[in-house]
């Protein structure tokens, strides 16, 4: 049986960065990708705006991916493409992966595992849209695949539900390709995509954004003929009197992403109910020794730059992992904070900067962020804005605070002290 130090599952931006970093740290690495080409979802993201944080320039998705793919192949790291991981078993020597591809079934024994499996899109039924089931209901990613990879048009006249970034990008993309985008409907009272995308994809093309609105029903037997939209109240309940029918042939959904963690769950790895990714320590190691998580499988990111960063963290730590024991302090979201990643601090690990990713629960102007250890404030930072669609990144050296096993680190907003 083939044996490696690190197996990376998924060849998107997280997996590529993880594989490169693990390799650089001396590990023998195998990357497994189920599609024919590396790059993950970036392959179909032909718009620009990728890499501002990391490279200080605006790249397209394929360009961004290419930089990593090039480094990956220059380093001679092994990749198996068109290969699917069908089972992962925990053995005394490590993780035994069963792979399937066109050559047959094979096994790999790996000391550590990096789950870089990305995320999937929430579907129409998962946001409880009712009515018929005609052709013409697509998630934004599927529509993007058709347009950008297959060169075919999924829509002529469409309504977009959800102001997630892919939905906004697709509003512009379909408009440029000659389709009519009637409007973007968002159930929340604030947009869920990046502000820059609201401007560049909707405002610049005169596409209306209807906040506090949702799609309630789909019509049409073969191909979609119309949707019913309605305004919602503060509790997101549909206001009956505002229901109206909009004739269209397509409904595109950008209503959220769900980290793909079926492999993690099959290993019994504990999942954070909020992020839907594994609970991790600062090395992005899950609570199962030797299994790491990164990218959108760990938590949904809005910038690919941070996806790569988390991949590198996981890759570096997976390469170094040598069956040390771990002891944990917990990191918890406090007032106003939706979640933090990581959720654990490995107190057996020596000091050094720990990168904390978090999102606020609601929109804050002039917020004071506070970090406490066992309710004693140790760190504060002022923010001009905090909004849920925009993930925040914080780098703190926790070593100075003398955190012990069992301690609780809390990240919270001090609303009273902000002004």
């Amino acid at each position: 049986m083939k044996t490696v130090d690190v197996t990376v599952i998924g060849g998107g931006p997280a997996g590529l960065a993880a594989a490169i970093e693990a390799h650089k740290n001396g590990a023998k690495v195998l990357l497994v990708e189920r599609e024919a080409r590396l790059g993950g979802i970036l392959k179909q993201c032909i718009h620009d705006g990728f890499g501002l944080v990391r490279f200080g320039e605006k790249l397209t998705g394929p360009e961004y991916a290419h930089r990593f793919i090039k480094e990956f192949s220059d380093l001679g790291i092994e990749a198996m493409t068109l290969t699917f991981v069908t089972a992962v078993d925990r053995t005394s020597e490590g993780y035994a992966l069963t792979l399937v591809n066109r050559n047959g079934m094979s096994k790999v024994l790996s000391k550590t595992l990096i789950l870089a499996t990305g995320c999937r899109e929430r579907t129409a039924k998962q946001v409880f849209i009712h009515g018929t089931r005609p052709a013409g209901v697509y998630t934004a990613g599927t529509a993007q695949n058709f347009v950008n990879l297959c060169g075919v048009m999924p829509a002529k006249r469409c309504v977009i539900l959800g102001s997630g970034d892919i939905g906004l990008i697709m509003a512009r993309r379909l408009t440029l390709e000659g389709a009519q985008v009637l409007g973007v409907y968002e159930i929340q009272s604030t947009p869920s995509g990046l502000t820059r995308n609201i401007h560049q994809c909707l405002h610049d093309y005169g596409i209306p954004l209807h906040l506090s609105h949702t799609v309630t029903r789909v019509f049409g037997h073969d191909r979609m003929t119309a949707v019913e939209v309605a305004q919602v109240d503060e509790n997101k309940a549909v206001i009956e009197s505002t229901k109206q029918i909009i004739e269209c042939d397509t409904l595109i959904l950008s209503v959220g992403l769900i980290p793909e963690n079926e492999q993690a769950e099959s290993l019994g790895i504990q999942i954070d109910p909020f992020t839907k990714g594994p609970i991790c320590d600062q090395g992005l190691q899950t609570l199962l020794d030797g299994v790491f998580s990164c990218g959108n499988a760990l938590h949904v990111n809005d910038l690919v730059d941070y996806v790569s960063e988390s991949g590198e963290t996981a890759g570096r730590n997976a390469a170094k992992w040598a069956h040390d024991y771990r002891t944990f302090a917990s990191i918890e979201p406090g007032n106003g904070i939706a979640y933090t990643v990581p959720q654990r601090l490995n107190t057996a690990e020596a000091g050094g900067d720990v990168v904390l990713y978090f999102r606020s629960k609601k929109v804050y102007e002039k917020a004071l962020l506070q970090v406490t250890v066992n309710d004693v404030p140790v760190y504060e930072k002022k923010y001009a804005h905090l909004k849920p669609p925009e993930m925040e990144r914080l780098s703190i050296d926790f070593a100075q605070y003398d955190i012990k096993t069992g301690d609780t680190v809390k990240v919270q907003i001090r609303e009273d002290a902000a002004k």
Partner: protein, 571 residues
Amino acid sequence: MKIKKLQKKLKEQFPSFAVREENGCRIVSGESDNWQDIIKACCLCVSKDRSVHVVNDVTYTGQADAPMRLPAVQNNELDGRSPDVLIIGGGISGATILRELSKWQLDCLLVDKESDLAMHASGRNDGEIHPGVDLAKGSLKQHYVLLGNRMFPQLSDQLDVPFDRCGQYACFTQGYLRGFVSLYALKRKYIDGCKDTQILSARKLRQKEPQLNRDFKFALYNPSAGCICPYGLTIACAENAVQNGAKVSLNTAVTGMTVENGTITSVQTNKGTLYPKLVINAAGVFAEEIAKMAQDRFYSIHPRRGTNSILDRKAGSLIRGIASVKVLELNTGHTKGGGLLHTVHGNVLAGPDAVETHEKENFATTPESIATVFGKQKTTAPDLKERDIITYFTGVRAPNFEEDFIIEKGRKTKNLIHCAAIQSPGLTTAPAVAKDVARMALDFLQAQKLVLRNDRFDPVRKAPPRLAQMPVVQRNKLIKENPDYGYIVCRCEEVSKGEILDALNAPICVPTVDGVKKRVRPGMGRCQGGFCSPAVAKIIAEHQNIPLEQVTKTGGGSPLLFGKTKGGDAQ
């Protein structure tokens, strides 16, 4: 009830309706804009004499009925054909009858107006193989459910369709009902022939189904209940029939008939005129329309909608078999009340509900249906959660007012057999009903000519291999033989390109995204085709040698795409 008395009673309750007896039917007439009133009035007129049926001639003045949906295609493909038997309807009834008849040297043709088999009730139910515990002796349903249930192990084996005899539990929270329910069980067991009926203690119930409500005090248990994939079985039956020489024509709607002297002389379709010797009416919700065309209408179908939710396989441990909470109420809704069911594919189904409707082809779902089902079934399993739903679907049942099957020769029209008013447990009963219908058909045809057995009949049909469920060695061997089995297209259900091609190369090829989905399951998982639908569409396009933008979801007017992008020749 004498007709005079009934007329009086009807006048009292529904002054705008009238009823008369004619040709062994009770014909209800009048006018109303309230569909529920029409249903109630017709139900009131049901006769105790099982051969007398209610015919609904009331004019419904409410929301106009949409006309029957017809296929877009028009050609002469079938024009002039004169099959021995024409079966109208490609649901489980039609498909099982076709298979039975393929055991004989007969020219049999099944037509269905949809782009695939099992597109109506047979593809839109929970797939339970019923034990018959809720049926009293004397009905056709009860007769056939006991016969049909026993046939499933062999049938599923021959047709390579997974079947799980997983057992059914009707659960009670009120311990004091145990005596009463025990008597009921004894009656079912010894009088109604449902021999496996037994009472299970709370402790035993928990051993078998640990996730159910801890408050259940006992359950009525039928180990003979099972589940199967209902559209999978329908497709398998039809494929096996085709392998044995029968013919299936999809996208083929019967639009009219010529009847002379009590004989159907020709049948008009969108693909030309047919001259069958015998017609079998297995047209589901449209059986009454077919009966009318054949001048043999003596019953009425009143559609009844039901919605099921499909839960993620992650929630699969919620239940191992089939269960529902039972509350003591008069069962007026003619439904088994729905429940939770662990499918052969590892999902959980929740539902269905039962709502009377005048629309025969409205498969739209409503939030109310889901709320009703979940409201009730959370008592069955407290861990049942809406957020585990991956999709939901609605089916329309085709009952008559007597709530029993109609399996008989035409009353006025000689070369006609009705297999109508088939509703739950119609999937269970189908193989047994098919035997009898085939017998009736043979009797009719043998009176005209000598019909010989089809010596080459092979009852065995092979499904595309399900590689994800195979041991590694066997799977490896198949991939070595055909590398397409090693390319995973659908990650949620782990379906390979090879399996998709097998579905397209099957005896009945339905080259649509839904057709492939029903046969080998790409897109059935939690992402609902988000990742794989472009890949599946490409495989269909390649196989059919058509451009990608001509691939449809369900055939006809359901294109996935509208041409190429501005520079879209990148393909």
